[in-house]
Symmetry: none
Subunit: 218 residues, 4 copies
Amino acid sequence: MEEKQVNLNSEGNRWQRRKEQRPSEIIQAARVLFVSQGFAATKVADIAKLAGIQPGTLYVYFENKESLFKAVIEESIKPLLHYADNIIDNFTDSPQELIRTLVQRWWDLLESDTCRGIPKLLTSESQNFPELTAFYTRECIDPARNMIYRILEYALNKNEIRLLNMEMASRIIFLILHQLLLHAHSFAEHEPHPVSTKAMLNAAADFIIRSVLKTEAN
Amino acid sequence: MEEKQVNLNSEGNRWQRRKEQRPSEIIQAARVLFVSQGFAATKVADIAKLAGIQPGTLYVYFENKESLFKAVIEESIKPLLHYADNIIDNFTDSPQELIRTLVQRWWDLLESDTCRGIPKLLTSESQNFPELTAFYTRECIDPARNMIYRILEYALNKNEIRLLNMEMASRIIFLILHQLLLHAHSFAEHEPHPVSTKAMLNAAADFIIRSVLKTEAN
Amino acid sequence: MEEKQVNLNSEGNRWQRRKEQRPSEIIQAARVLFVSQGFAATKVADIAKLAGIQPGTLYVYFENKESLFKAVIEESIKPLLHYADNIIDNFTDSPQELIRTLVQRWWDLLESDTCRGIPKLLTSESQNFPELTAFYTRECIDPARNMIYRILEYALNKNEIRLLNMEMASRIIFLILHQLLLHAHSFAEHEPHPVSTKAMLNAAADFIIRSVLKTEAN
Amino acid sequence: MEEKQVNLNSEGNRWQRRKEQRPSEIIQAARVLFVSQGFAATKVADIAKLAGIQPGTLYVYFENKESLFKAVIEESIKPLLHYADNIIDNFTDSPQELIRTLVQRWWDLLESDTCRGIPKLLTSESQNFPELTAFYTRECIDPARNMIYRILEYALNKNEIRLLNMEMASRIIFLILHQLLLHAHSFAEHEPHPVSTKAMLNAAADFIIRSVLKTEAN
DNA sequence: GATGAATGAGCTTTCATTCAT
DNA sequence: TATGAATGAAAGCTCATTCAT
């Protein structure tokens, strides 16, 4: 007697889940190479080698190079989909602390093993993969800016914010946070005068705080 | 009586000899495609087509695709090599005006016809062309930051600067300016809530001014 | 009852995996075309077709056309590296018999399946591949002349040699043997009055014997 | 009223004559490169450069690369067409002297400025240009062997010839003479133990004389 | 006639993908 | 499932040839 084999992971999901059975090592390997070399310049054979498999095996799990790319983005973006919750878990700190926490958590999350370099990759390939870019813009960038906006609102409620356009300030803050990530994967290692990550993060937080919060020393 | 048939650039001018203009036309075409698609994803045939020539003609002027890429970067970077002089021509304005001018001129220069998209391109290809990246870092990024630093010094001398680490502040300001350019060539067109360039530039200037200068409303 | 349809190499075996035999098959095909057309005039696609593979397959085994050429030479030369042993296995025959044997064995060895046409090929391409030519000169030509010299010494010891400069005679004998091979791959088939290989070999042996050995009829 | 323009140099001539107006410098340059590199490996642009002209100019005089090649052969072969008269001008010398003269004149003629390397070139390209090869075989090789045959006849008449097959001996003598030329353009410069041209020519003459003529020391 | 920039067909080579094992 | 040799379309590049100057 045959039981109908139910496929729980129906492929109708826009962002398919393959979960356990998918060799996430392939995705990790692919992400590393895509980030450093770009999509077109990365060879499938090199991904396979880095993942410790043969080229043919890769095609057992991914339909083609492009769908692997999408899986890389999709998978790496997952932790960011509800990052608001991840990054800032309570709004009871002082606004200043909140901003410092924001910057640090932002870095920790986006440079974590699973999504390191994804913003750089999406910036580079934005024209080649417009759907992914639109998805990222809608699901990650926009929520991120909303969260920043909420932090500013929180400061506003505490009467600690300076006179400013909160919408535009959110955007600029986002630019700073985003560029911190890009810089780490592009020019950082060619800097004539390198600066530690910690120093950069602190400087970014200081810069933002000075710009948006009321502080003694103006 | 036969009128001489005048060929209005229909196909008779395929054999135009334009030794002088060709290289820069090819470079312009190549820059556009390299910026939007990346080096590896851009086909030589497409560059040729966009430049209005045949593929073989491209090789009359450039040894290969890579040297064309280098020519694109080097040529496009030229206006930036002494951009300090280009961007800020006098330090007699108020510091606030100076920063507003900086942001606007930065944009005008870097999004001008000759170098539009180059920062995006170099960010994307930094790992694939380390020498070019080092060159850009040394000759463009570093001087740019120095110029920003001098603006802060100017404000310091006028006693209009807030208490801050000028070196690190310069770096963050540079990040903002740089990211403005990248954003324009990546996510801008996929924004769910687009914002005009003018608004972004003003917001960036405001943000920077609030962060580094003494202002009434803190 | 259905007989299993046997596919007699019609097209079902396009995907044959024959890692072991492939390289030497490619080399054989390449040798044939290189010998008749020269290196530059031979197309990689034609070599592949003659070897019964696709162009891409060739590059699984050889880095490029030039390294295939080198492999052809190196592989084809192998049987010649110790040909002295191969050609003349004993020095107990009469000098005259020895020379007849030399000529015949020389022909049999150098026109065997594995090295047919190589002297012609190396003559043609000597300027384009100087290292290979030097290698061939040192490892094949020089030892060949030494062996000829030893045959003359053997005749000398038997007091059957005429008064002559043995060093120079060896060179001339080598020229004759070498040219026999070249002629077979160049003008032979365009001869207005063709002569059989056998006749040529005998004539060459006769000519050499008369020149270097004491014979009754002078 | 138009007179029909009469082309005095009708192209019906199998081996066209362009005489004075043809830049024989082009042919000289082409011969040098064809001999050392082969037909396919020689670039028209390099021939033009060596001839001191521009690529386009070459096509004023030659229809295409192949017809230039034919002109090279055709022109270079001219001195050989009646070389019997050129090489041996009298049959009054002793047969031995005649053979020595033959070898020396053969060399002087075939390595003269106008035809140096042609035998090597034709050997290399024999399969690619069968008509030229047939022509060369018929008009040069065959007459050359006939002349050698006549020398042997002359020796026969003087009762100075050994017992031999004169037809086959002529062929072997020709092989030797031909190979002397080939060797000079292929392996000679890679010889581990070089020998002067003069020594080789003498050795060849000695070798031939010993083989075909009655001599005291047998 | 001479030029040399421009051509474009055709070559070598690459590499994402397939499939017999 | 995993393999990796084989594929073949497509890319970069060459160079004999053309033709406006």
